[in-house]
Every structure is written in structure tokens, then in C-alpha cells.
């Protein structure tokens, strides 16, 4: 206010203090942690700080995004899991069998597991869970799409369940390993969605205790825990899992504060670590890194081929030819991310990489871009240097989810904007929060978008690029954001998801990826970055081989 007095000496003190803080923040926080002790220690509370958006619902059946998967991994478990080699291994189901026509799957379930509300885990529970995911009222997106081919679930007896399929699904086991279709207590699912969202009930190592909105979720130890996945059970035989008494799961969206909290010891594990802090943590003995690239799709920019100007393949190719992302990835990510040339994550064995398509000696090809745009009718330029056609500017809307794109990625988009401008594209970057971002996508008000999608296995291609996925899931989200509508591709993806022959499946997915890449529908960037930093006192933390979420089932705090 104009009338308030302004004290000069006090202001000087504030400035000095701010500078001192700045300088203090620049010097690396030294650590004195020695080698980790080998024997697990029981007890203690671990604090985790998440930079992802706070979920609006803790039940990952509802919607189904990565922030939900991160936390739900601590209290929910799936029918099957994967081992380090990507082989499917038993979890809540001990064995399974598929009929010759691929239309019937039978799962034998563990008979000694109960949910943390006392409800026994049985065939009826599996049926209730699949029904819950498929119920439009649940508004599931990820789980709904993953289980789309399950037509009916029959409880043969208490611990034998049969899934009847509408078509063969070679990706069924991979789909079922994901936390988005994990098992919840059927009794708990009968509550209202609001109640179930606040405290889902599973069979996992921890139980949701309290949820302070906008702050933290407290998870406490499940004292009756007995159902780790087969590989963990083998490795920790004889131990009483989990070791920790509780986990405080905090939400600290600001990356600098999150890192500072880790350095000060206020929290012990952080996710969404920024590239520059990962680099500086390397020289810090007190902080260790866990890098767990997510399976499924690589991070990529989707070009909306469903409307002008990207309905013209020449314009799509021109855009991709005119932007240089390699240099930006190197400088912005400090070597923590590697350029991808594939629709699939590098952890997917069936990924097809076509570097030659995207780079000519790692430079942009402005001449080619220019010719393509001339051909496509965008031959003239306006006073600002942007291409025009029939009086309309070559303008692209690029909504950016500030919750999902880390700052380095947002900077990369700014660099793409600058490159594209040289070629005559006007790129309008729109930083948006998650719900506004979903809104813009639902309205088809975008030409470019980067939307991470995590799923185990190459079947993610069907979800992302089959024309069926232009139709929204019950949550309102549609996954085919490039709006690829290609009958040949649809056919390949349908066949690939139905065949049980491994070689045939690989060949089909390769052809499918070729169509996607050579149609210039996407600009692949890098794997979905999933870097965690932990205090070196945290031992036994590992990422699930399924969707790369960290699990604290076997974690302990070294004294």
C-alpha cells in the first residue's frame, strides 16, 4: 500500500539473508554416510516426497494415472507380477492356464490371503474387482482399456477363477500385472466412491491410515502381510515384511524444495528428481539415485492428425524435419536422458527404433521442411515470418501439462517452439494444470501434445494408436491423441494382440511401429523419465519390474 512505511535497514537485512541462503544452496551438502549395513532393520518411519500431482482418488481403478500407481503400489497387489527379466511370475495368483482358442483363462488363487479389512481374498473378489474396473460409474481409463477384452468372470470355486474373453488377448498377463487393476477388498468397493477413494483396502504391505488433503497420506504397516510377489518372497524368505512401521507420503510439487528437503534429511526419498540435481547428487555420498524408466510408450510429442493442419502428412513431416531436439535433450537433461527414436520405451524388447527417419546427421533439414510446406500450400509468409494459407496462419496449439512435464521438458518445448518458428510454424505453448489440460484434450483443442502413457508390454501401441482409442473411455480421456485412423494399422494391432506366437507378435508390432513412425504421427523424445533420489540410509528400495513404481515392501532405514 502506498501509505506503508518502508524500513531501509530491515530491507537490507532481508536481501543479505536471501543472498546468504542462495549461496548456501549452491554449495553441495556434504554427507558422512558409510557403507550400508547388510542386515535389515525393523521399525521406523520413512518420509517420501512426491512431485507428481496429488491424486484426487487413492483407488487406481478410478481414472488410473501414474501418481496413483506410485502410492497404490504400497497397499494394493495384483494377480501376477514380473521378474527382472520381464517373465510373468505368481503373485496373488499361483498359476494360470489358457485354452487353445485363447478365449478362456483360468487362474488359481492363493488361499491364505486376506484384505486388511478382514475380507478373504477369493474368486468372488477377483470378479468384483474386474466388474468395478469395467463399471462405467467407476470412470476408469487405464484399467478399463487394459481389461477391455474380458467379457465375463466366473468363480469356478473359492480359489479358481475363469476369465472369458471376447477375443484372444496376448497381453492379458502383462495387463493384469499392473497396479491399475490391482485387487481391492470387495466389501470396501461396496462403499461409496468417495469413501473408497479416501482409503482403498488391499492386501499390500501397508494400509492407508489418514489422508491430509494437500499435504500427505500416512501409510501404516500391515501386520498380517504375507503376500509378496514370488521373486520378493524368495529373496526375503524368513523375514517378516515389511520392515518399516509407517510411511508418510508427502506432496511437495516444487522440485527445488523437494531436493532441499532430501538434502536436509527431512525426507528420505523423492521422485521426479530434476536432471541438474541428479548430476549434483552424484558427488554427494549421502544421496543415491534409482533410475527406473517406465515401460510402455516413450515420451513423445503427438501430432494431432485428426484436424488441420496436421491432417496433411506433408505438414507433419515438415514439422518433424524442422525441429532439433537432440541438442536440447543433451543440454537440458545433463546426460540423464537418452534420445528415443521409437514409439516404445527402451525397456520394451519389441520397440522399433528408426533414428534415420528423424535425424540427418543430427541436424534439422530446413530445406526439406520448406519444400514440404510449399507443396502443402503453405507457401507464403506473413509479416512475422509465419507461413500462411488462404489468409490463415500456420498456428499450432500445444497445451502442456505442468504436472506431467518436468521443467526441463517444458524448456525443451520452448526450444522446439523457437526452431519451428524458423520454419514458419507458430507454436502456442499453453502451460496448464492437469484438469484444464484434460479439458483441452477432450475438446480437441490441440495440435501438439505430450502425454505420457505407461503400460506393461507392446500392447500399449493398440491403446495409443488403434482408431478405437479415439473414442473416449468412461473417464472422458481418449488415448489416441495423434488421432491415427489407419485401417491397416488397426488390423496389425488387432492381430498382434490376438496371436500367441511370439515371433509373429514381434513381426506384427514391428510393422505397426513402422507405420506410426513413417506416418510422422509422433516425435519420440526419450524414455518416460523416472528418477528417484534416496538418502543412503534407505536400503532395500526397488522399482517394481511391472510399471517401475518404487516398492517399500522390503525397504528399511539403516541407523
Amino acid at each position: 500500500m502506498p501509505s506503508r512505511r518502508f524500513s531501509r535497514p530491515r530491507a537490507a537485512v532481508v536481501v543479505t539473508a536471501a543472498v546468504a541462503l542462495l549461496l548456501a544452496a549452491c554449495s553441495p551438502g556434504g554427507g558422512t554416510s558409510g557403507e550400508p549395513s547388510g542386515e535389515p532393520v525393523t521399525g521406523g518411519t520413512l518420509t517420501y516426497a512426491s512431485g507428481d500431482a496429488e491424486p484426487s482418488c487413492l483407488d487406481p481403478h478410478v481414472g488410473g494415472n501414474y501418481p496413483q500407481a506410485l502410492i497404490a503400489t504400497q497397499y494394493l497387489e495384483s494377480l501376477v507380477s514380473l521378474d527382472e527379466d520381464g517373465e510373468v511370475i505368481p503373485w496373488l495368483a499361483t498359476e494360470w492356464d489358457v485354452s487353445d482358442d485363447g478365449l478362456e483363462w483360468e487362474f488359481t488363487l492363493r488361499d491364505d490371503v486376506t484384505f486388511t479389512d478382514g475380507t478373504p481374498f477369493d474368486a468372488e473378489a477377483v470378479a468384483a474387482n474386474i466388474a468395478h474396473v469395467q463399471d462405467p460409474a467407476t470412470a476408469s481409463s487405464t484399467g478399463y482399456l487394459a481389461l477391455a477384452k474380458i467379457k465375463d468372470v466366473v468363480a469356478v470355486d473359492d480359489h479358481l477363477v475363469r476369465l472369458e474373453m471376447s477375443a484372444p488377448d496376448s497381453a492379458l498377463l502383462e495387463s493384469l500385472s499392473q497396479v491399475w487393476v490391482a485387487m481391492e477388498s470387495p466389501k470396501a468397493l461396496e462403499r461409496s466412491q468417495e469413501e473408497n477413494c479416501a482409503a482403498p483396502v488391499g492386501t499390500g504391505p501397508f494400509v492407508v491410515d489418514t489422508w491430509e488433503r494437500q499435504d500427505s497420506v500416512t501409510l501404516v504397516r500391515n501386520d498380517d502381510y504375507n503376500s509378496p510377489p514370488a521373486d520378493v518372497a524368495e529373496a526375503t524368505e524368513g523375514s517378516d515384511l515389511p520392515y518399516l512401521d509407517s510411511i508418510v507420503w508427502r506432496f511437495i510439487p516444487d522440485s527445488a524444495s523437494r531436493y532441499a528437503a532430501l538434502q536436509s534429511g527431512e525426507v528420505q526419498v523423492i521422485d521426479n528428481a530434476q536432471p541438474d540435481t541428479i548430476r549434483s547428487a552424484e558427488s554427494d555420498d549421502a544421496i543415491e539415485e534409482l533410475d527406473a524408466p517406465r515401460p510402455g510408450a516413450a515420451n513423445r510429442i503427438e501430432l494431432n492428425s485428426g484436424k488441420a493442419p496436421f491432417d496433411d502428412e506433408r505438414v507433419r513431416e515438415a514439422f518433424i524435419r524442422s525441429v532439433n531436439v537432440d541438442d536440447g535433450i543433451q543440454s537440458l537433461f545433463f546426460g540423464t536422458a537418452e534420445r528415443s527414436y521409437s514409439p516404445l520405451s527402451s525397456v520394451e524388447p519389441l520397440g522399433l527404433s528408426l533414428p534415420d527417419l528423424f535425424t540427418v546427421d543430427f541436424t534439422v533439414d530446413t530445406d526439406a521442411a520448406s519444400d514440404l510446406l510449399d507443396d502443402a500450400g503453405w507457401a507464403e509468409r506473413d509479416a512475422d515470418g509465419y507461413r500462411v494459407k488462404d489468409g490463415e496462419r500456420l498456428s499450432l496449439d500445444f497445451p502442456v501439462s505442468t504436472n506431467q512435464s518436468i521443467p526441463a521438458e517444458q524448456s525443451l518445448f520452448e526450444q522446439i517452439q523457437a526452431d519451428a518458428k524458423t520454419a514458419g510454424f507458430e507454436v502456442n505453448l499453453q502451460p496448464l494444470d492437469l484438469s484444464s489440460w484434460y479439458g483441452v484434450l477432450a475438446e480437441n483443442d490441440y495440435d501438439l501434445v505430450s502425454a505420457p502413457y505407461t503400460k506393461v508390454g507392446p500392447d500399449v501401441l493398440r491403446i495409443l494408436y488403434h482408431s478405437d482409442s479415439i473414442t473416449p473411455a468412461p473417464s472422458g480421456y481418449f488415448a489416441n491423441l495423434a488421432q491415427v485412423d489407419d485401417a491397416e494399422l488397426d488390423d496389425l494391432l488387432t492381430q498382434a494382440s490376438a496371436t500367441s506366437d511370439a515371433d509373429e507378435r514381434a513381426a506384427l508390432y514391428e510393422q505397426a511401429q513402422q507405420i506410426i513412425l513413417e506416418g510422422y504421427y509422433i516425435l519420440p523424445l526419450y524414455d518416460q523419465q523416472n528418477h528417484f533420489l534416496r538418502s543412503s540410509t534407505v536400503q532395500g528400495l526397488r522399482a517394481m519390474p511391472t510399471v517401475s513404481t518404487p516398492t517399500f515392501a522390503g525397504a528399511w532405514l539403516a541407523p
Binding site: 500500500m1 502506498p2 518502508f6 530491507a11 536481501v15 542462495l22 549461496l23 544452496a25 549452491c26 516444487d254 522440485s255 527445488a256 531436493y259 532441499a260 530434476q274 541438474d276 540435481t277 549434483s280 541438442d327 536440447g328 543433451q330 543440454s331 537440458l332 505442468t402 521443467p407 526441463a408 517444458q410 524448456s411 520452448e414 526450444q415 517452439q417 523457437a418 526452431d419 505453448l429 499453453q430 502451460p431
Partner: protein, 275 residues
């Protein structure tokens, strides 16, 4: 405090420094190319994250853009929005203040109550409310800051108008048969203008801070625009390792707000002693 005599006027050193800084700011706003010939948006991958040096006085940001160039070019954005927002605030306040100051009793009562209700909200909150309704962007954040500052100005203007209206020379003019409008335009408005000028200068500093705050929150200028608040927000992520990305835009905000305040106070002091 030491004083220097320039052209028959007395300045404190702080005022002189502030005046020079404001002058630089105006030059930067009108002809940024004179102070920094480069392109504030030019990306250069090889130069990313360079600390301050002779080649880059304030260092470079994550895309290798020169921060000095961006701070200079950012002045026009910040100053323009600051001036515009203040103009909106004061313009609105003039209308409200005159209606309340000269209108009938009931109108004065009504307007004053409305202003008081608005005054009860912290200014930035009022601005945020406005942006929630209209959606983020440069224009709406400018209007928002203008609206948010209006109640404060309106109160001061009203009391100034009241005081002037009851002065003897106004009484004289009325006795001479001058019309209401004539009196308002010829006597009251000029008398209020002096106070307005001080308010505007002081308000400018504050408006710059508010506009930067809104951009910092992602509600004003959109990246990669060279705007101080937006630069501060972009640099925040890297504060642990690259302090210059936040330090220099921050310094520019603090220095311009301080300079505007010092000058405003200087004028206010002289007005008071002159009156």
C-alpha cells in the same frame, strides 16, 4: 543525508540513483536494442547454464538465452504492464472518487461502502479472483492488478475531492455562478492531480511487483517470454545449482520497485512542504 544540487533542485543520493535507474528502465523499455542488441529469445544449446562472464554479463539460462538481454527486454513488458495497470487502477479510482466526493450523500455512502468491502480483500487476492474468472493471460493480469489497486486510490481521491470541494475558492466560484462541471474540471481536478501523480509513481513500483508475482505463479506472461516474473519462475527449478537464473530477474524487480518508491516519496515530501 547528503544532498546534491542539480539544476536548482535538491536531490538525496538515493533519489539521484533511483532517477538514473528509472531513466535506464525507460530507455530499456522503449529502445531495448540500445542497451542489449541481442535477441532475448535466441536459443543456443552450446551456451546453456553459463555463469556470469564478460560474454554473458548475467549468465545464461537453460536454453542458452542471455539473461542480461532478457532482463533488459523484460523491462518493456514489466514497465508497460505496470504503467497500464496503474492507469487502469487510477482511472477507475478517479471515477469512483469523484462520484463519491461530489455526488449526493446516498451515492457517497453507497460508493464508499463498496470500496470498503473491496478494500477488505488483500489486493493480490482480488487480482487472483479476477483471473480465476477471466482466465490467465497478460491482458487479464494487467486488468486484474488495475482493479485490485483501484479501491486504495479511490479512498484517497475521495477525501482529496471532499477537501478541495469545501475550500473557500470553490465557494467563491459557486457564488460567481460557475456550473458544477466547470468547477470540477477547472478547480477540483487540477488540485487532485498533484496527489494523483505521487500515487501513480508509488503505485507503479507496487504494480511491477504484483504483475511479476502473477507471472511467477504462471498467470501472466507465458514462457519463454522475457518477463521478470516468468524468468524468476523458470529459474526457480535450478536455484540449487544455477543461482544467476533467479538472482538477476529478482534484482531487476526489487530495484525498479524500490526506485519508483524512492522517487514517489521524494515528490510527496516536496509537495507536502510546498503546500
Amino acid at each position: 543525508m547528503s544532498r546534491a544540487r542539480v539544476g536548482g533542485l535538491r536531490f538525496t543520493v538515493a533519489e539521484a540513483v533511483a532517477a538514473v535507474f528509472l531513466l535506464l528502465l525507460v530507455v530499456a523499455a522503449l529502445w531495448p536494442g540500445l542497451l542489449a542488441p541481442g535477441d532475448p529469445l535466441a536459443v543456443s544449446h552450446a551456451d546453456a547454464f553459463q555463469p556470469p562472464s564478460l560474454a554473458h554479463l548475467f549468465g545464461t539460462d537453460e536454453s542458452g538465452r542471455d539473461i542480461y538481454t532478457r532482463v533488459v527486454h523484460g523491462a518493456s513488458e514489466s514497465l508497460r504492464i505496470g504503467v497500464l495497470a496503474t492507469a487502469i487502477g487510477i482511472g477507475l479510482a478517479i471515477v469512483l472518487g469523484f462520484v463519491a466526493g461530489l455526488g449526493p450523500r446516498w451515492l457517497d455512502f453507497g460508493t464508499t461502502r463498496v470500496v470498503e468491502v473491496l478494500f477488505a480483500f488483500p489486493g493480490l487476492l482480488l487480482a487472483l479472483l479476477f483471473i480465476v474468472v477471466t482466465g490467465p493471460g497478460l491482458l487479464s493480469s494487467t486488468i486484474a492488478v488495475g482493479l485490485a489497486t483501484a479501491p486504495g486510490y479511490a479512498r484517497i481521491i475521495r477525501s482529496q475531492v471532499r477537501r478541495t470541494a469545501s475550500a473557500e475558492f470553490i465557494e467563491a466560484a459557486r457564488v460567481l455562478g460557475r456550473g458544477r462541471l466547470w468547477i470540477t474540471a477547472r478547480h477540483i481536478l487540477p488540485n487532485v492531480t498533484a496527489a494523483l501523480f505521487v500515487l501513480a509513481t508509488l503505485g507503479l513500483g507496487q504494480a511491477i511487483i504484483w504483475v511479476s508475482s502473477l507471472s511467477y505463479l504462471g498467470l501472466g506472461a507465458v514462457p519463454p517470454a522475457a518477463e521478470w516474473g516468468a524468468m524468476l519462475a523458470a529459474g526457480r527449478t535450478y536455484i540449487a545449482n544455477f543461482w544467476w537464473m533467479t538472482f538477476f530477474p529478482g534484482l531487476a524487480i526489487v530495484a525498479s520497485a524500490a526506485a519508483a518508491t524512492v522517487i514517489g516519496r521524494g515528490i510527496q515530501k516536496r509537495n507536502r512542504s510546498g503546500a
